[in-house]
Homo-oligomer: 140 residues x 2
């Protein structure tokens, strides 16, 4: 996973520096969203500088390049499960276990853009988050 991203960065001449890589790894190891200050703590544990801008800069970079998504309803961040692909993700947020999953490619975002076009609104980006109960938690 990191492999692909690393290659993507080299190909596009963008730099996955140590702190950026570390943040990405931290997020990839989590099934829940992490807040910037949680990430900051984990960075400190890993021996990095831990002032807020450090985390926010790394997150800005990762989000900008599509390696990480921000979950707006939680002010948290998750690793992208399909990095490189330009997409309009849909997130499933479980209120029992807090897990955040990116929904497998769905037509929702494009349907939405089309539907809104009828109102004269030109969609550039969509934020779609669903709160509910994941299949694992539903079973218990």
């Amino acid at each position: 996973m990191i492999k692909n991203i690393d290659k993507y960065c080299k190909d596009n001449n963008i730099k996955l520096t140590p702190v950026r890589l570390k943040v990405l790894e931290l997020l990839q190891n989590e099934k829940c969203g992490l807040g910037a200050y949680r990430i900051l703590d984990l960075l400190r544990d890993a021996g990095f500088n831990s002032q807020p801008p450090v985390a926010y800069r790394a997150l800005d970079f990762l989000v900008e390049h599509g390696f990480v998504h921000k979950i707006e309803s939680q002010n948290s961040f998750v690793a992208c499960t399909d990095p490189g692909a330009h997409h309009s993700p849909v997130f499933m947020i479980c209120k029992k276990c807090d897990s955040v999953s990116e929904a497998p490619a769905s037509a929702t975002a494009s349907d939405l853009s089309e539907a809104l076009m009828a109102t004269g609104f030109k969609v550039e980006q969509t934020i779609i988050e669903a709160e509910g109960v994941c299949s694992t938690c539903a079973d218990t």
Copy 2:
């Protein structure tokens, strides 16, 4: 508009107190989302107590009863344009003029719930926000 909400409150035995009503009116007079601290300023201007909990409590109440929606990507609030109706709103956020409009009833949210059900996820609530350019701004 306030009329209907007032009636709804009486019918359901919930209280639209002065500060709650004022916040609702402030939001109804705006086409953009307002942040809690902006609302707080406006409350102060109107002679109300202006400690943060005042605004947040009023907003909590209004959101809970569906009179106001929170725009998660902006940490702002807008008046509901179809209060009383239990719905899954879709918002159109214009990046030029900052206006926030609630999309006329769309199938998007229910389509989404259905699509995600296939993954085993049980949707309870959806957050759908589209960023782009409104028809007014597109014309200029």
